[in-house]
């Protein structure tokens, strides 16, 4: 069966949704300081670094446009390349497990609903699994719809809270040195799975991918910048005391007929999470297919990923020691750089080396 492709716009819109989901869960504890404005600088720097991190992926795309990094590793490196798809699979599980865990923590600590938070998390994973099993086209189309809902939801919240903005809440940049900026850069890179997504899914994308990536980086920078600017300007130092300052911003929103819009915020977060999880579960399908050297993507990969993501999320949310390890910014940052830069570079170099060593044999 011929594999279907999605457009670059669809892919990067999905990545935008994933990015927003991660940004919503941002808090002062992880950004390393109290000044939200510095996080905007961190994000811009992280995006600049992102262009460098993505270079090996582009190189590999140019060399092997039809293969993802995992398959290229297996094809070029043989048995030595087998751990690469496995590592990507594990990366997706951990990154999505932690994203889901943050959502569950939010439910448990901030919302405290009358029903089990784990039930919501499980339902969320179920929805994402359904999407992953339907295929990448389905998820990409759905992501476009969620993107529109997200813009409408965020536009509503932003538009309403803007009048609460006070310049007095803004603090000067770099007042306490550059430590927070540095921590922020690490955090934003750590929580970006776009590199791994690109490594696995870019061969299924048609159109102007470079332009798409640039638009994605610019668009997310604009969105994150605006969001953090509003959080800083509307909440001031109060934001630092909140586990989920973006939620706190939504919670103070009032419209004449609606008392609070935090349910809208949570809904948008959930919808975005489903898209993010579904995309990465589809990535897991490709990982297992590469591992088995099978031409078709493995449905079992999505099932396995769903179960593992749920397990990681529940463990992270319920067990503080696990949480301390898996939500550690530095560890996640290393994993992201490994998935986005080191592994593609390794596969690229080994491919080039193999070509060089093969060339004399071919000549002989």
């Amino acid at each position: 069966m011929a594999k279907r492709k999605i457009s670059a716009a669809q892919f990067f819109i999905s990545m935008f949704v994933s990015r927003v989901v991660v940004t919503i869960a941002l808090n002062g504890r992880y950004t390393g300081g109290e000044n939200m404005l510095e996080s905007i600088v961190s994000y811009v720097l992280a995006m600049g670094l992102g262009f460098l991190i993505a270079l090996p992926i582009w190189g590999l795309q140019k060399r092997r446009p039809q293969w993802d990094v995992a398959r290229a590793a297996v094809e070029d490196m043989g048995a030595l390349g087998k751990p690469v798809p496995l590592l990507y699979f594990l990366y997706f599980v951990v990154v999505n497990g932690t994203s889901l865990a943050l959502f569950q923590l939010f439910l448990m600590d901030t919302i405290n609903p009358a029903f089990s938070a784990a039930l919501v998390t499980t339902a969320l994973v179920g929805a994402a699994l359904y999407g992953a099993l339907r295929g990448i086209e389905t998820v990409a189309r759905c992501a476009a719809c969620v993107f529109v809902l997200l813009l409408l939801g965020c536009g509503l919240v932003f538009g309403i809270v803007a009048w609460r903005f006070s310049a007095e809440n803004l603090e000067p940049l770099f007042y306490n040195g550059f430590h927070q900026t540095y921590e922020g850069v690490l955090l934003f890179i750590a929580r970006t799975s776009v590199f791994a997504d690109m490594a696995m899914l870019l061969p299924m994308v048609k159109g102007r991918k470079g332009l798409g990536f640039a638009c994605w980086a610019g668009g997310t920078a604009l969105f994150v910048g605006l969001l953090l600017f509003l959080v800083a300007g509307c909440l001031g130092r109060y934001a630092y005391t909140q586990n989920f300052p973006v939620y706190a911003l939504a919670a103070i929103t009032q419209v004449r007929s609606m008392q609070r819009l935090d349910a809208v915020f949570t809904g948008v977060w959930m919808m975005g999470l489903v898209v993010k999880l579904a995309f990465d579960m589809y990535g897991c399908r490709l990982c297992l297919a590469a591992l088995k050297s099978s031409p078709d993507d493995s449905r079992g990969g999505a099932w396995a990923a769903a179960l593992l993501i749920l397990a990681v999320a529940l463990c992270t949310a319920l067990l503080p020691p696990v949480r301390a390890v898996l939500l550690d910014t530095r560890l996640l940052c290393i994993c992201t750089v490994a998935a986005g830069f080191l592994l593609p570079l390794l596969v690229l170099v080994s491919g080039l080396f193999r070509k060089k060593t093969k060339a004399p044999e071919d000549g002989a």
């Binding site: 609903p113 929805a127 999407g131 389905t138 349910a263």
Partner: protein, 484 residues
């Protein structure tokens, strides 16, 4: 397959055996210039007057015919009878089929061929205004049960030789004839091929309605990829956009493929009014769809789990009403919803003389007595009533909406607004992943095409713009290669 015998007696016996115990089987024996013959037909399916005037009278008044059976048959065919629909048959199975389709069959002794004449004369309903697709300004004629009349209705509106009607048949026992109708050069050849192949694979023994074929044409999903219309003007419009129509004998509904989700919101009236009003009506229908699908779920979710979302005054009114009822909101809404569905079904199935009684009793009992007795609250009743009315604004989506409403109601009760949101994502995923004959069901919204979306989805453009460029269905974004 049995062949027609040279012996008339054997043929007579065969047909009599086949139609044993069938009182509608008619046989008229005659002698034509010394050769024994017989005319067969089924009572009720043929016009006796036509048989007398165009077959029996000319045969009886014919000059002396030369030669044996085959020669006489040839003479009759060429010089005596001049029926418009006339064919020779050698297979008994075909003859049986023709007899059951309203043909009269002439057999002569010593001749291995039969001559069949189309003399259908069964009663049929004339074109009337469709009851299920009422239009304000459209034509007042609708399809009938005869697929041949339906073909004529389409042909009368599209006088082009590109309009094709290909004959096919379904049903192992019913042998229901149908016509596959399309515009050559406009409809995708791949879609036509797929339609034929799926109909061929149809394992039905009896096809009593077009609806029987839907499950053989689509691939499942919440929303159907096969459309239905009772209006010839609507079908002509769809055919012009590259769709394939399937006209099934015995049913006044014509099937249309590929059928997109946005078409559920389009009616002919939209195109007969001014564009701004057409757009307004379109948006009303979108709103009605969301209201109908989500309102009960959101009502239960908000009143049960997120009362903070409501303004204080409204919240107090709801709380006050709810305090006087013995059931939780969920049970109350569910009960009302089931009652409404029962009333609707009873109103539909009850004899016409009783349906008014059912409505009055239902309306009074549910609408007044239940509220004044304190069994259900007025806000819940209002929500269910609003939901029901909104559902009728998009009648094509009634079936999926009936189930979606229930699903969102349960999701809202167990997981609050988040359950409804999750349901919405699942619905979106299902819609985004469904296709109708290779065309994404949600196109041109997802995959997105700005040109098409602002042509006839979010806005209904004026005819000057609509006429400029065709929106052929296989050219929609995301369609698999469905070229000519």
């Amino acid at each position: 397959m049995e062949k027609v015998s040279q012996s008339l007696a054997e043929n007579q016996k065969y047909l009599q055996d086949q139609f044993k115990n069938s009182m509608d089987f008619m046989m008229r024996e005659l002698t034509l210039s010394g050769t024994a013959g017989a005319l067969f037909a089924l009572d009720g399916l043929v016009s006796k007057q036509t048989i007398t005037l165009s077959i029996l009278n000319p045969l009886m008044g014919a000059p002396v015919m030369p030669g044996d059976g085959p020669m006489k048959m040839k003479f009759i065919e060429q010089n005596v009878l001049g029926s418009v629909e006339q064919k020779r048959e050698t297979q008994m199975e075909q003859i049986l089929l023709l007899l059951m389709s309203g043909f009269a069959v002439l057999l002569l002794d010593g001749c291995g061929d039969a001559l069949a004449f189309g003399v259908q004369g069964f009663d049929s309903r004339g074109p009337e205004e469709p009851q299920n697709e009422v239009m304000q300004r459209g034509a007042k004629d609708g399809f009938t049960e005869s697929y041949q009349s339906n073909m004529a209705m389409i042909r009368r509106r599209m006088k082009t030789t590109s309009l094709k009607f290909e004959k096919a048949q379904v049903g192992g026992k019913s042998h229901t004839p149908l016509a596959i109708c399309y515009l050559e050069g406009v409809a995708s050849s791949q879609v036509i091929r797929k339609v034929k192949s799926r109909l061929k694979k149809c394992s039905l023994q009896t096809a009593l309605g077009a609806g029987y074929l839907v499950s053989f044409l689509e691939r499942g999903g919440i929303f159907t990829g096969v459309g239905m219309s009772e209006r010839p003007d609507v079908v002509c419009g769809k055919i012009e956009e590259g769709r394939v129509a399937i006209l099934v004998e015995g049913t006044p509904s014509v099937l249309l493929v590929p059928f997109l989700f946005v078409e559920n919101f389009q009616t002919l009236d939209d195109y007969l009014t001014r564009p701004f009003y057409g757009t307004f009506i379109r948006w009303l229908k979108y709103l009605a769809f969301f209201l109908s699908a989500f309102l009960p779920g959101l009502y239960v979710a908000i009143t049960t789990h997120h009362p903070e979302l409501l303004p204080e005054s409204l919240l107090l009114k709801i709380a006050e009403a709810e305090a006087q009822t013995p059931f939780p909101v969920m049970a109350e809404t569910l009960l009302l919803y089931f009652l409404y569905e029962v009333l609707r079904e009873a109103g539909l199935r009850a004899p016409r003389s009783l349906s008014a009684t059912v409505s009055i009793v239902g309306g009074l009992v549910v609408g007044d007595t239940a509220v004044s007795a304190g069994l259900v609250s007025a806000p819940s009743l209002l929500v269910v009533a609003l939901t029901a009315i909104a559902g009728y604004a998009v009648p094509r989506l009634y079936e999926p909406l009936a189930l979606l409403r229930l699903a969102f109601l349960l999701a809202g009760n167990f997981l609050g607004v988040w359950g409804v949101m999750l349901g919405l994502v699942l619905l979106l995923l299902n819609l985004c992943g469904s296709e109708s004959f290779g065309v994404p069901l949600l196109t041109p919204v997802a995959p997105y095409s700005g040109r098409l979306v602002f042509r006839d989805v979010f806005t209904r453009a004026g005819w000057q713009r609509l006429a400029q460029k065709d929106a052929v269905v296989q050219d929609m974004p995301g369609s698999r290669e469905l070229g000519q």
